[in-house]
């Protein structure tokens, strides 16, 4: 996170005196992870012995304990271009490209190991040889491999290619990672793109590939596009019906915010319907334009993958998808603008008889009603722990939550842990000793006060405490009733544990 200095006020007084008040504002860690994240062409992120691993062009690698903070890893036995890794059985197969005679003369090499952890006795990369190649003449550049283990039939597929001509598909042996028959003719499935990879969902094969220019920093037009097919061999059509063999591809993710040039999609399936994806940005403007790893939520809409965004700090109403009610402190709310009696119905504003400040019960109280001042309404709140509950959202202070990343508290793939406090106060949402939700008077950094926010396939959020004192399994915030939230085991098929963060 980079502190950004903002000139909050500029005042001139008497002889020319500049009084400049600088306020440090931590930029939202919305992208690009933490730690050492510089990499280009990252492979699909793998988990091994509780750690996360990815490999990039030139033999680079990154490792993380939690998926949020990364550090340099160990180079594998063979470096190459744009590797991909897949875990099948007890083996991690790593595929990487090379251009021994210069592009488009290419080859895809394979190495494998039983572990990605250099400290494991099973860590030893074995050479598996070349599984695909291009001769420098044919209309293909055999680099940039991407692997798929078909969940429907257990077949292993590899796509490869880079801009020069076709993206091609070959079948591999899932036991050895090698070509089943090197003489089988590869299938052409797309053209004029690179960094292709296949994923499968609900009867569709999706081919994600990167269009645009790479390797030019912030001048890179890299963007990830997608087509889908009922068969793994295609045809892969985009949303307009254009075949990716004819240049089609629905935009999945381009540039935005402080990052430019998205490429090299890699699926991260966390189970329970929670999916994310890895990628690299050609240029992270907050990191001097370096190429960096990122992880973002993967959403699905109308049968198409959609790139979500990691949680952005801010102040929100936290609304249950199931009940439509919002999380609040269990304190007596004060209507914004003050309490008023219902009174008798009078003329509607602007109607006959209205005007001159009159208009009956619908005329309001006149003027602009300012937002509720939490400092005023909280004077009657209990000093100690306060239960939470849910209610119709009515813009009141006890219903507004500020969600803030917590430094040095670790994280999870894509984000740091957050604290959730009532806006303008230190009242902190936590898991109580009884395993129920409670608001503590202040944040003290305990694991029961740290929250993981995962965006689900439909765009709603799952809210999970880092630690629940009575939990024997991963529990998440659950709307068990319209007016009560608790912690319960996540049910991906239900809506009890789906939440919306809305602008208050």
């Amino acid at each position: 996170m980079n502190p950004i200095l903002h000139a909050k006020s500029l005042q001139l007084a008497g002889p020319i005196i500049l009084m400049v008040e600088f306020v440090a504002i931590w930029a939202s860690p919305a992208s690009a992870l933490d730690g050492q994240v510089q990499i280009h062409d990252p492979s699909t992120i793998m988990q091994c012995n509780g750690k996360f691993y990815t490999y990039g062009t030139g033999g680079s690698s990154l490792v993380s304990d939690d998926g949020w903070t990364w550090r340099r890893g160990t180079r594998p036995s063979r470096g190459g271009m744009a590797p991909d890794v897949i875990h099948i059985g007890d083996r991690y197969f790593q595929y990487m490209g090379s251009n021994p005679g210069g592009q488009p003369h290419g080859a895809i090499n394979m190495i494998w190991s039983k572990s990605l952890d250099p400290n494991s006795p099973d860590y030893k990369w074995e050479d598996g040889g070349v599984v695909a190649s291009s001769d420098g003449v044919e209309f293909c550049n055999a680099i940039d491999p991407g692997a798929l283990l078909d969940p429907t039939d257990g077949k292993l597929w590899l796509v490869y290619g880079s801009y020069f001509g076709y993206i091609r598909l070959v079948q591999l042996d899932p036991k050895t990672g090698k070509r089943i028959d090197p003489n089988d003719k590869p299938v052409d499935i797309a053209i004029n793109c690179e960094a292709a990879i296949l994923i499968y969902r609900d009867g569709w094969y999706y081919l994600l590939a990167t269009h645009g220019s790479c390797c030019r920093g912030a001048d890179s037009g890299y963007n990830i596009r997608v087509g889908r097919a009922r068969k793994v061999t295609g045809p892969f059509l985009d949303h307009t019906g254009t075949d990716m063999l004819e240049g089609g591809g629905k935009l999945f993710l381009g540039s935005g915010g402080r990052v430019v040039g998205a490429g090299h999609f890699g699926l991260i399936d966390e189970g329970d319907g929670v999916q994310k994806f890895s990628l690299h940005w050609e240029a992270d403007l907050d990191r001097g334009g370096a190429s960096v790893l990122d992880i973002r939520p993967l959403l699905w809409r109308d049968g198409w993958p959609v790139a979500g965004e990691n949680f952005k700090e801010g102040t929100y109403a936290i609304e249950s998808v199931r009940t439509g009610t919002a999380l609040e402190l269990a304190v007596e709310g004060v209507p914004v603008g003050g309490r008023r009696s219902r009174g008798a119905r009078g003329s509607a504003p602007g109607g006959p008889g209205a005007g001159g400040g009159r208009g009956g019960m619908f005329a309001g109280q006149g003027g602009v009603i300012p937002p509720q001042d939490v400092a005023q309404v909280s004077t009657n709140w209990p000093a100690g722990n306060i239960d939470s509950r849910m209610a119709n959202y009515m813009c009141q202070a006890q219903q507004k939550w500020t969600v803030t990343p917590v430094a040095n508290a670790g994280g999870y793939p894509g984000s740091p842990y957050f604290k959730i406090t009532i806006a303008g106060t230190d009242r902190t949402l936590a898991v109580g000793e009884d395993g129920e939700l409670v608001a503590l008077p202040a944040f003290t950094g305990g694991h029961e006060q740290l929250w993981r926010l995962d965006q689900l396939a439909d765009g709603a959020w799952r809210i999970m405490p880092k630690f629940a004192s009575t939990a024997r399994e991963s529990l998440v915030l659950s709307a068990v009733g319209s007016s009560f939230a608790t912690l319960a085991k996540f049910d991906p098929a239900g809506d009890r544990q789906r939440w919306l963060f809305k602008t208050p």
């Binding site: 009884d434 395993g435 129920e436 068990v480 009733g481 319209s482 007016s483 608790t486």
Partner: protein
């Protein structure tokens, strides 16, 4: 299974089995199409398919005002009659509140909810700015832990299980199934007393209640009784 253990059924039958009969006695028009609670017509009745408790003892309404958290809490903490937070009354028992004699009535509902508006209306009692006390007894064949009481009410209500306050929902609200839900609690083997106070400002008023199991599914496997001496 819901049971009526200590009500003399033949006498109930003679009394025509319905609050509507009380309405006639009170000079009110008979309205067969409205969801009035009925007097229990048998000692036993099946538990609602979704676990809602359908047999209650309800006291005729007491005047009360205010639906805010503090107003409701003040109203339910006020002493109206002796042992109001511990008594398990019988059908027909009477208490005196503010000089007025009020009667406890055993009622059944065929619905998921109990309609307090028609309960009061049929008795010729006020329905607005009132507080209703209701009690039932849940009899468990074994200890049931990790369960929750789940209620809905129009309007505000406060609920107790075995004397401990477990739910309070406030404000002018309509009955929604599983609106207020307690923290996890344990129902002991044998009788467990469920008590509530519902305050209505105006218009319709009703409530519903059931227990949820540890998976937040409707709790089954218990019986409900009212008016048994052993619980007094």
């Amino acid at each position: 299974m819901i049971m009526l253990r200590n009500i003399h059924i033949p006498a109930v039958a003679v009394l025509a089995g319905s609050i509507v009969a009380m309405a006639a006695a009170a000079g009110c028009a008979s309205r067969s199409s409205v969801p009035s609670p009925t007097r229990p017509a048998s000692a036993e009745t099946a538990l609602h398919a979704a676990g809602f408790i359908q047999r209650w003892l309800i006291l005729e309404p007491i005047g009360a005002n205010g639906l805010t958290d503090s107003a409701v809490q003040a109203a339910v903490k006020k002493d109206y009659f002796s042992n109001q937070l511990t008594v398990v009354p019988h059908d027909g028992d009477k208490v005196t509140v503010g000089g007025a004699e009020l009667t406890w009535h055993a009622v059944d509902t065929n619905e998921y909810n109990v309609n307090l508006y028609y309960f009061a209306y049929d008795l010729g009692k006020p329905t607005s700015n009132v507080l209703f006390w209701a009690v039932t007894v849940v009899d468990c064949p074994r200890e049931m832990s990790g369960v929750r009481l789940a209620i809905g009410s129009n309007a505000a209500s406060v609920w107790w299980v075995n004397g401990k306050e477990v739910i309070g929902i406030y404000g002018d609200r309509q009955t929604v199934i599983d609106d207020g839900v307690s923290k996890r609690l344990t129902l002991k083997k044998g009788p467990n007393i469920v008590r509530c106070a519902i305050i209505n400002a105006g218009g319709a008023t009703d409530f519903c209640a059931r227990f949820l199991d540890a998976e937040d599914k409707p709790l089954k496997g218990f019986t409900v009784s009212v008016g048994d001496d052993e619980y007094r």
